[in-house]
Point group: C2
Chain length 798, copies 2
């Protein structure tokens, strides 16, 4: 598997020498050493666990190596060589990179393994300069566990063992990235209480918001940047999945819609921060970082700040999911970090505490709800926020719980909605002292959410309009990285796609990563050195170091869906990429560019009846449904292309047009685009390759290398889908009455994609109604009729 590397910064020999001298990898007297002595010194240095000042112990480590099948490294050094062949060097190198002789590579041909794993090699090592460069490249090469060799050495104590020889209380860089020279055994973990301008629980007092800080001990002497993760789950969650709303119910006539309005909560004014020196924290953190990227960066000097904000354990207030109040409260933590807001050491509000350890440069990290709040906050333009790295984030809450006038669930969350997510995060209910005080207000808020989210009609309203962050992208003034899984059916790709279309035109640096995962992180894949890229990125954005971060990797990077270790380099991800093609159905259920079907075909939708009776999971249903299983495919129409004779990549948002009639005065139409063909596709989630094999710092937690790998044979793969309410045929934002048996023209876009259809596969357009995992599942039957003459699917291909 290829260990692609994008974060390696091309570096001049002079700089290489300087950096290696600084970290004591290159001995100060290197110019006086022979080639052989220098080789020995540098191999010994790689064995980071040995005391650097014990020559005897260091030398024993050389015995571990062979340069060929017949010669040990020690014997080789005894010949006083003036150069080393590539075979000899990469036999040593592969062992340093944790590959296993005989089992992973052949001492007769190490370069074969180097190439297979896409590990970089130098051209020759015939003098000391070339030897230094070869080692510089090697230290900055990914080992078998996915981390750079220098990071693996750090995990074994390289910097710990040299702490007295390294500069203190400062960042140390190698190849543009910050090194884990900070003392992870002394990390400061503390809690503060930020005063909000909100009074969401209506007790007449401003809400206090608990924030938890993990910061390097060295930040007592030297301000450091902060990575802020706004996590509503940080205080714990209330597991209420079993209370999810019933979705086994008939559709409602959408004209009952009343356009519920958003009403803001009470506002009070927090005290201003003083100009005086303030107290130290008196409470240690109990919560822990939930994100290995933050831990990795904490070992490298970046503080990590977690806060749940309103309604979460340790904080006042009510959780009003998706509302401007939520954004405001989450944003206020940054105001404190930036020196613009007051915080206290405890909830008595007596002792002020400042973030004087912070250099006022703040970045954000996090996935899902935690990514969402990055978008929320970035669209306020708050001072101090320099960059966001928003993963699998919601950009409009309507696109999370609704679609085109329908209640549509995130994957694996049938029946979930704003009110239930609010309960999940209202963790301050878990302390009985808070509970007996806040419960009545909380019940009121819940009733309000339940009413206004309007699960009856599923229509867009003022209430949802106020939960659409895309209206405020003009305020974004920080740089931007979005990460999303192309198979994320929880936070569907439309969320990232639609905000990307706006961000890409803003005068801020912006990047997009699309991987092949579902609702998942990508920071420890084999195929891309994402963690190293983020190191480079945050060093550039929050420490102001010019390390080429802006030119190091393409604007848009997209993981291939056939071969996980290929990443496509794109300038954009939109409907402007590629050529438009249109497919039409034929009367004999083919799908052709020149299809000219004239028939009117019907299918009988059974709602959730058979699904419930079968007691199978939603995933099992979807697998059978898209694969065309006879029983489950019945309530659908399917149109299939010929086998593709050239590979084609579908890019952007396919658009369907349909002329439809329903046997009732209401109706929901689903459309899926599926690839058919028996082959081994990638696993749905990455496979764990070396559990806990990555050290995030020295004795400081671990992560696990992973990658998508070929799975067992399957017949079909969902490319994209969408759902639409018939009653929105005329206007996506306003329902209309419809007549049973009358035809209406629908036109809507599917979720965006970037999907390579391989040679030999077919495309299949499926038209159906009830989607067991996402739509409501009516109790009544409905007959839908599709007029093929007015049916088409259009998309861009490249």
């Amino acid at each position: 598997m290829k260990y692609n590397q994008y974060a390696y910064v091309e570096t001049k020999l002079e700089t290489q020498v300087k950096e290696l001298l600084q970290i004591k990898f290159l001995p100060a007297n290197y110019q006086d050493l022979s080639f052989a002595q220098l080789l020995a010194e540098m191999v010994e240095n790689c064995r980071a666990e040995v005391q650097p000042n014990d020559e005897n112990a260091r030398a024993t480590k050389l015995n571990e190596f062979a340069v060929s099948l017949t010669q040990t490294l020690v014997a080789f050094l005894d010949t006083k060589p003036e150069e080393i062949s590539l075979i000899e060097f990469y036999n040593i190198a592969l062992q340093l990179l944790d590959y296993r002789v005989h089992y992973d590579y052949d001492l007769n041909d190490p370069c074969k393994t180097m190439k297979k794993q896409a590990l970089p090699m130098v051209d020759s090592i015939s003098n000391k300069e070339e030897l230094i460069s070869a080692f510089y490249r090697l230290l900055n090469t990914r080992t078998k566990n996915g981390q750079l060799l220098i990071d693996v050495m750090a995990g074994k104590g390289y910097f710990y063992n040299r702490k007295n020889e390294l500069p203190t209380n400062q960042f140390v860089f190698l190849n543009g990235k910050s090194l884990p020279v900070f003392d992870t055994s002394k990390v400061i973990r503390e809690v503060v209480y930020v005063e909000s301008d909100l009074d969401t629980d209506g007790d007449g007092q401003s809400d206090l918001l608990q924030a938890t800080i993990f910061r390097p001990f060295e930040s007592e002497k030297m301000p450091v940047p902060a990575l802020y993760t706004a996590s509503p789950y940080f205080g714990g969650i209330i597991d209420n999945e079993k209370r999810n709303h019933n979705v086994d119910e008939n559709l409602t006539d959408a004209t009952e819609w009343t356009n519920p309005q958003y009403e803001p909560s009470a506002v009070v004014k927090a005290r201003k921060p003083s100009d005086e020196n303030t107290s130290s924290a008196t409470e240690m953190a109990v919560g822990k970082s939930s994100y290995t990227l933050n831990e990795y960066l904490l070992a490298r000097g970046f503080a990590s700040v977690f806060a749940g904000a309103i309604g979460t354990r340790g904080s006042d207030g009510l959780r009003i999911t998706g509302a401007p109040e939520e954004t405001e409260s989450a944003k206020e933590i940054i105001e404190w970090l930036h020196g613009d807001r007051i915080a206290y050491t405890d909830r008595s509000r007596k002792h002020e505490i400042k973030a004087d350890w912070c250099n006022h440069n703040i970045g954000m990290t996090g996935r899902s709800y935690l990514g969402t709040l990055q978008i929320a906050i970035a669209t306020t333009g708050v001072a101090g926020l320099k960059t966001v790295v928003s993963e699998a984030a919601i950009s409009s809450w309507y696109d999370y719980y609704r679609e085109h006038g329908l209640v549509i669930a995130p994957e694996d969350c049938q029946g979930e909605d704003l009110d239930l997510l609010a309960e999940t995060c209202q963790s301050n209910l878990l302390d009985s002292g808070d509970y007996i005080k806040i419960k009545p207000k909380y019940d009121e808020m819940q009733a309000n959410l339940l009413e206004k989210e309007d699960r009856k009609t599923g229509q867009y309203s003022d209430y949802w309009e106020n939960r659409n962050y895309r209206h405020h992208t003009d305020k974004i003034n920080c740089s931007w990285i979005s990460v999303h899984g192309l198979n994320d059916w929880n936070v569907k790709p439309k969320n990232v796609y639609k905000i990307w279309q706006k961000v890409k035109d803003l005068p801020v640096e912006h990047h997009l990563f699309l991987h092949q995962g579902p609702h998942y992180n990508m920071n420890n894949l084999v195929s891309i050195d994402f963690t190293d890229l983020m190191n480079l990125w945050f060093v550039h954005e929050l420490l102001g170091v010019e390390n080429n971060a802006y030119n190091q990797w393409p604007t848009v990077m997209i993981q291939d869906n056939l071969e996980a270790d290929i990443w496509h380099d794109e300038k954009d991800w939109s409907n402007d990429v590629g050529q438009e093609v249109v497919y039409y159905p034929t009367d004999d259920t083919e799908l052709q560019k020149d299809g000219n079907g004239k028939k009117k075909l019907t299918f009988l939708d059974l709602g959730g009846k058979e699904f419930k009776a079968a007691k199978i999971s939603e995933t099992a249903w979807q697998d059978k449904f898209i694969a065309g299983d006879e029983k489950w495919a019945k309530p659908s129409l399917r149109f299939t292309t010929d086998e593709f004779i050239h590979p084609v990549t579908i890019v952007g948002r396919p658009e369907v047009k349909l002329r439809v009639s329903s046997s009732l005065n209401k109706g929901q139409i689903s459309v899926a685009l599926v690839e058919l063909g028996d082959r081994k596709r990638l696993t749905a989630v990455p496979k764990f390759l070396m559990r806990d094999g990555q050290e995030l710092g020295f004795r400081f937690g671990t992560d696990t290398l992973q990658e998508f790998v070929p799975d067992k044979l399957s017949h079909a793969k969902l490319i994209t889908k969408a759902h639409m309410n018939l009653q929105n045929y005329a206007d996506m934002q306003k329902p209309a009455a419809i007549e049973p048996g009358e035809f209406y023209d629908l036109s809507f876009e599917l979720q965006p994609t970037y999907y390579k259809v391989p040679v030999g596969s077919k495309l299949c357009l499926i038209i159906y109604s009830t989607d067991q995992g996402m739509t409501k599942r009516p109790l009544e039957e409905t007959t839908y009729t599709i007029d093929l003459a007015k049916t088409e699917i259009k998309f861009n291909e490249k």
Copy 2:
């Protein structure tokens, strides 16, 4: 679910007060405080994350509590109470134990939840003494995460925040158990090289054995005990599963047996340890503890030592699995810890290093191979070894890879054998320098193992005899704890049963735990406080503290197979427990106490043919086979009892007698005893309940609470089984020729069990031949005939 607690030591009020004063939980001036003041102080102390010297911050924490649905704790304290009701107290207590108001318990009736979870309560709290006792009990009560409240508080910084007020460089005890007062941020992790008396690689030099030590920083000032885990996997493993031997082959006529002999390796003499002060370690540990129990105890002052011994990475020599050389080399680490053997700082053998941090009291821990080596070492009687806690251990290697004259695989290890396990652990091959030196010797050793393990006949031989630790139990002079899963089909229960029959008669303290798991640990179950018991045990055995450990829990504890939170208290586990009953088959395939079948029934064994064609897993085969699936049950005879009208517990080793003929001059007979009945049985492995929810110390790694819980409905459960070679009908240790079509009388014992058959279930005796997951799978067909008149199964029931 019941949080049973066996490690709570009944303690007098006077001692309680002394212990609470020592750990600063009870303020020194407690006699001057009012009841209300004392209550406030102690609740505040439980919020361990708050600085103990900040009265303001401490007081804010009281706001988190309510004593009833209408009164906060603060309001209650304002009334200056002189006592507290049990409802009020346990409302506070449950919150401190991490239960969640409203979701886990009702403020109107907390005692209901206390009782349901089997949490201890005091009778009344009407004065300060009773309040102190109530808190003493509470600190020593298991919280929702399974740990004692004091341990949870330690994980939040209780001792860290009070480190200047606590005694330094000494163990601190509460309720007989050692507290995590050691500074986990400063743990010393180092590597040494112990010199062996062996020269297994035949290079004329004694083998050096790498040992890795994790020890409290405080051990620099004060000797501490060592917990030694002999782990052949510590240096990494060579994953060779795919090379497992082919088991799809016909049986061999066992008379070909040649009785392979064990031949010892060369012996040399190591240097003697000097009397001088010696060097400090120069190499830090790279390997990590694989066992959370060790980490838990490390935070509590016990050093943890890991060594792989001969053949493992960092060590010299060849891995000769199961051989006396393996025992010798693993034992030599203890000799160093005890001061009786020399070790060096590195492999140059120049600088001696002593274990002067060790108090010379050594205990052992570990599971599977790591448990096995405890038995191996204990049977040498080595000085310094005070106790073993041996989990899922092999007591004779024949009982791991063979049974009654047959090659029988451990579960999930078809085709594995001594030679392959040796390769797995020969991790010094992974360093190319060692590789090119040792490979020829290694290949020789492998060839020797392959020949002498004798996969052809499966017979017991001198070679296996030398891998049977049970012959040396007379040398055991340490105390003994065995832990085994009653459903362990990897290391089958016969291993623990047979050594237990010997150990129980020795003049050493001995205990046995049998849980419902497969090849699994039990140290973090809900139903038993095993970790706390081990704390008590090691404090008693290695620190010599009289804490009632010997009388604290029964000699034999056995987890119930119907209700996971019931543990049976037994004096012994043997065939002497209960009443003997005998069941006989009837001609119409029933199994009755008065069965009198006269028929001769046959079945046609198909070997592995159909199994291979079906491409199902061994587990799937076994599930279908025992449940009587038509296709898979065909090559077997089955005899079933009536439904049981009283519950019956089967104890010990059932014995079968069979008169059998084979259509060939060879044959293998399998017998299984199965419980039939549609019901929800316990999960095969414990369910994870709060992932990483247990803190092993302060910022020092985590563990996960787990327990067996009712699984989905199943029809059958394997109770026990066994396999036997027909050619051993006369002598288990010597094969005989047999004639096709002739009848032979077999008599053999099944694996031991302790199994409660519930009312309504039936027992089923299955007689078959090929066991797809364990026996060889012949390519040829064999007809077996069973004479029912000479067939019976006998077992003890209670």
